[in-house]
């Protein structure tokens, strides 16, 4: 199932068919067949991934003219070398030598410019899955498509790669702040469900306890900035050289984080909290990567496989292009962020709001009974499926 934004695909879906394509970076061996079951952390395909050649400025290091390097190299192009092997020898009485710093295959393609390149041996690459499911399709030598009935929740942003573990509710209310004392040894290797914000101390405690993932309603900019090591506003340069959010978080993190509402002090929205905590103790897969725009666009998500659910019981995918009367929605306007309701009207004419702006709106009846007009762009759809286990 693709995850994308902004459309009206449900962001909290109690039961849907999750489809993930797992692809090798290069042609290799796919170990599974259509119909096979897969488990989290299972290797489903493997290949050899070539390493990038490392360039060494040998002529410069030996104070040699670039044009003289070729004559001094002792080993043929394409030969295998070991770390420590003498590859270059210059001079007779006072010899200068150059040893291979690493093992690999020697390339003399750049020796005229004074460089030698050593290409380390290709590395074994194992493709793993992080969810329990079934193989629905296989592209020979390249990829597998895994499917599973699952509950699915998308977040606003996150960071960190794919993790899997057992869901544990660390709070009892979606507005509770996740405090350090709420984390203990039982939190290790799990994916914790928090509520409202989290502070730097609790984040550090989670890292210390080797928590695999955190799902929160919100986080303050201050706490996030501190955890990421940002120094100032300049570090928030989203769109400068890419749309990764937060910027420059492509490095490995000790845990994966997903935030459902956004920055600040907000409780997690009720449907997401209820759905997550109802699966306390169940396995889940969490992916925090967030790209805001472009072909790599993606939002963080948590998938709770429901392999015992009857696929026939999965409700049809709702229309992601538009909203209809009766659709459950979540509001993302700053003043009503996180509130949920039902669409009870879709006026064709634009309406003026209190601020004076005119928009195409949906009339949304909130949980407190109040009906408010909300611009369509400020709504996210919630799933309509029943709970399955």
């Amino acid at each position: 199932m693709t995850v994308y934004y902004p459309t009206f695909e449900p962001v909290v879906n109690p039961l849907t068919m999750v489809t993930q394509v797992r692809a090798l970076p290069m042609a290799g061996e796919v170990l599974k067949r259509v119909g096979n079951r897969v488990e989290p952390d299972e290797v489903v395909a493997r290949t050899l991934v070539p390493a990038r050649g490392q360039r060494f400025a040998v002529a410069r290091q030996l104070a040699l003219a670039e044009k003289d390097l070729a004559a001094a190299v002792l080993v043929e192009d394409g030969a295998d070398v070991e770390a420590g092997d003498v590859l270059v020898r210059v001079g007779r009485l006072r010899q200068r030598i150059w040893r291979a710093p690493i093992a690999g295959t020697l390339s003399r393609a750049e020796e005229q410019q004074g460089y030698l390149v050593i290409v380390p041996d290709s590395q074994n690459y194992e493709l793993r899955v992080h969810i329990k499911g079934f193989v629905a399709a296989v592209e020979p030598y390249r990829s597998l498509t895994i499917q599973t009935p699952a509950a699915l929740i998308q977040g606003a942003f996150g960071f960190g790669g794919e993790q899997h573990g057992v869901l544990r509710a660390a709070v009892t209310d979606p507005g509770d702040e996740l405090l350090p004392e709420m984390l203990d040894e039982r939190s290790a290797l799990s994916i914790l469900i928090g509520g409202g914000p989290i502070g730097v101390a609790a984040l550090a405690r989670a890292v210390e306890l080797r928590v695999r993932g955190l799902i929160l309603g919100s986080i303050t900019e201050e706490a996030l900035r501190s955890f990421l090591g940002y120094h100032g506003d300049a570090d928030w340069d989203v769109g400068g050289s890419g749309w990764l959010f937060p910027p420059a978080t492509a490095r490995d993190f000790p845990l994966t984080l997903m935030v459902t509402e956004g920055l600040g002090r907000r409780p997690m929205n009720g449907p997401a909290f209820e759905l997550l905590t109802s699966y306390d103790g169940s396995e889940a897969a969490l992916d925090g990567q967030t790209w805001l725009h472009g072909r790599e666009q993606r939002r963080p998500q948590v998938i709770i496989p429901l392999t015992r659910a009857d696929p026939a019981g999965i409700p049809p995918e709702p229309d992601a292009e538009q909203l209809g009367i009766g659709v459950a929605v979540r509001i993302v306007s700053d003043d009503l962020l996180g509130q949920v309701g039902l669409i009870v009207g879709l006026p064709r004419r634009m309406q003026a709001l209190g601020c004076g702006a005119r928009y195409t709106v949906a009339e949304v009846r909130l949980t407190d009974g109040q009906t408010v007009p909300v611009p369509l762009g400020n709504l996210e759809a919630l799933g309509a499926g029943g709970k399955g286990r």
């Binding site: 750049e110 400068g240 209820e274 805001l292 992601a320 509130q339």
Partner: protein
């Protein structure tokens, strides 16, 4: 079909946020006019991933509103038939792909690096990092530790720059070439070694490198980079110490943008095939409109376009037409970049309510997470408009570096300006950010709004039919917001600044006194004309006049009213905002009320958003909205 046979023309403007489609047709007396317009969310992102789908949807809305059949089975009906169904031509602008990241590699931070930045900032290229020789020598690609601590080393940015490119500059023509050899060699070392046979499967295309430095060093740069990069040689951006030549580098950057970004917009090939002329970039339309107005009216023109993902500014006088395009800097997709480049304090200074730094940062970053959300409260709009002011400030500051001067006509385009709930709010954004001085012979600055978002499309329309473009620009695109008077000088706050007299053709007169330090809107509606006489107080000047010198329209000449009225901005130049938060908030509130942008009630009611109430469990038998 000859261009003058194109009567009904469909114009599409595909932005990063929304796609607007405009139907232009010949109406009475063979005049081209806007007939209808509609809009749809841009569809370049998954799962739709086709820019033309939004156009189809928007055209569908046009069909409903006009009763014309413009499409058949999802394709445009071309040409128009005798019954007026269909259109004769289709043209488009497209900026939906966003901007192109560019790393600038320069010998020194001043002179050539500045010219390189200016070259990039005249296109949809974003110079996200400027690396100088000093940094290169401190962090050479070979032998440097993998993590240098603090900011990532510059060569790490080169490794991950895709799509993107490098702009290599340095030295005036004829100067020492050694620094360019060092830079080119360092860049070559930062690029991956020649691909081994197995790596070709995953190898990316060669990194584009535009060399726009010392002409004498071209051969050296070619030796170092030709086999490792996609090297493009252009004329020096700084051929002599006091001479700047940005056009060749800009043209190459534009070509690169089209190759790497534009042509990779999903559905772009289809869009190009449909269009009757090459798809244009929106800032070209802005520049064309500015130049045309400058020539047509014989006035100096400043045109600004503030959008979700980019901000552009153009100044035109005669043959001079410098422009600035700041990609990924805007009020939606570009909001985080405004925070990164301008800093939270600069944005906070425009807020007429108490707001902590954290609150402003979090609002901006939440908007960056959901760039297509729209403002729904006064507080939202005040925050958004503070961001807008800083984006405009950034563009205008850079335009001034290129020698822009005074202007008599301002064109405000882009959703960030024209979609404000009241035109007076757009006026305040413009006056605060641009701070026009009115230092021209006329002494008056006319403010125009591009209410229908047509100015960017004018460029595309002009490629097909220049007359149609001119007609639409003059008749439909530009809506006069109001003439603006800017008294300047040093007067005691509250003391009389100017006495204004409007003499209407029906002999009626209106007299207004404007105190120093205030902004006054004189009712003077669109469609009205009047002779203007302004008597400044001692110490106050208008236009190019001396202190106390009378300013008036000449005999037979009239000023025209606008949607807001006659705007008198006697707050002084430059605007001075108190350092004290309380005093500044009070002053900003007063100005916004004086300008008619917000009422006292609206400003008094601005509160931080309350936390959502805890949800009460549904009563038995009552439908639960969360679980229908």
């Amino acid at each position: 079909m000859a261009s003058n046979d194109y009567r009904a023309i469909l114009v599409a403007d595909c932005g990063v946020d929304s796609t607007r489609v405009t139907l232009v047709d010949v109406v009475e007396q063979n005049e081209y006019r806007l007939v209808a317009q509609s809009e749809a969310a841009t569809t370049v992102e998954p799962p739709v991933s086709n820019v033309t789908i939004a156009i189809q949807k928007a055209v569908g809305e046009l069909e409903r509103s006009t009763g014309r059949h413009l499409q058949e089975e999802g394709r445009l009906r071309i040409p128009q038939d005798r019954d007026g169904q269909g259109v004769d031509a289709f043209v488009a602008t497209c900026s939906a792909g966003g901007a192109l990241p560019i790393l600038v590699l320069a010998v020194t931070a001043d002179i050539t690096a500045v010219s390189a930045r200016r070259a990039a900032e005249g296109t949809y290229a974003v110079p996200f990092r400027i690396v100088t020789m000093e940094e290169v020598l401190k962090n050479p690609p070979l032998g440097a530790p993998a993590d240098a601590g603090g900011a990532a080393p510059w060569w790490r940015a080169v490794e991950t720059l895709y799509p993107g490119g490098v702009l290599l500059v340095g030295g005036v023509d004829g100067s020492n070439v050694a620094p360019l050899r060092t830079l080119a060699r360092a860049l070559a070392e930062a690029l991956p070694p020649q691909a081994a046979r197995l790596e070709q499967e995953v190898a990316r295309p060669a990194l584009p490198v535009i060399y726009a430095g010392n002409h004498e060093a071209q051969e050296i740069v070619r030796e170092e980079l030709a086999e490792r990069a996609d090297l493009r040689l252009v004329d020096n951006v700084r051929p002599a110490m006091h001479e700047e030549a940005l056009l060749p580098a800009r043209q190459e950057l534009t070509r690169l943008y089209e190759d790497l970004i534009q042509h990779n917009v999903p559905g772009y090939e289809e869009l190009s095939t449909l269009a009757h002329s090459p798809v244009q970039l929106p800032y070209m339309g802005l520049q064309l409109a500015a130049r045309f107005l400058a020539a047509h009216d014989q006035r100096e023109v400043l045109a600004v376009d503030l959008g979700s993902g980019a901000t552009a500014a153009v100044w035109a006088r005669g043959e001079m037409c410098p422009r600035v395009v700041l990609g990924h800097l805007g009020v939606g997709y570009g909001v985080a970049r405004v925070l990164a480049q301008r800093g939270v304090e600069r944005i906070r200074r425009w807020l007429p309510f108490p707001a902590a730094e954290a609150e402003v940062r979090e609002w901006m970053l939440n908007r960056a997470l959901r760039p297509r959300t729209v403002s729904t409260t006064v507080r939202d709009f005040l925050l958004q408009q503070a961001v807008a002011r800083e984006a405009l400030c950034a563009a205008v500051e850079k335009l001034q570096e290129q020698g822009s001067a005074g202007y008599e006509l301002v064109v405000a385009a882009g959703g960030g300006l024209v979609r404000a709930p009241r035109p007076a709010q757009a006026v305040m954004m413009l006056l605060d950010a641009l701070q026009p001085t009115g230092e021209t012979a006329a002494g008056i600055v006319e403010l125009y709004e591009d209410r229908y978002g047509l100015v960017p499309s004018v460029g595309a329309l002009a490629t097909l039919n220049p007359d149609a473009a001119a007609c639409v620009l003059l008749q439909d695109a530009l809506s006069l917001v109001g003439p603006c008077l800017i008294p300047r000088g040093r007067v005691r706050p509250g003391a009389l600044a100017v006495k204004i007299e409007l003499q209407f053709p029906n002999q009626l007169r209106q007299e207004i006194e404007v105190p120093w330090g205030q902004l006054v809107i004189v009712p003077f509606q669109w469609g009205n004309e009047a002779h203007l006489v302004v008597r400044p107080a001692r110490g106050v000047r208008l236009g190019l006049g001396r202190a106390g010198e009378l300013l008036s329209t000449t005999a037979g000449e009239m000023i025209r009213g606008g949607r807001v009225g006659l705007i008198v901005d006697a707050r002084g130049r430059p605007l001075e905002l108190p350092a004290d938060d309380g005093a500044r908030v009070a002053l900003l509130q007063a100005w916004l009320e004086q300008g008619g942008a917000y009422t006292e009630t609206e400003l008094a009611g601005v509160q931080p958003p309350p936390p959502p109430p805890a949800e009460a469990p549904a009563e038995p038998g009552e439908p639960d909205p969360a679980h229908p």
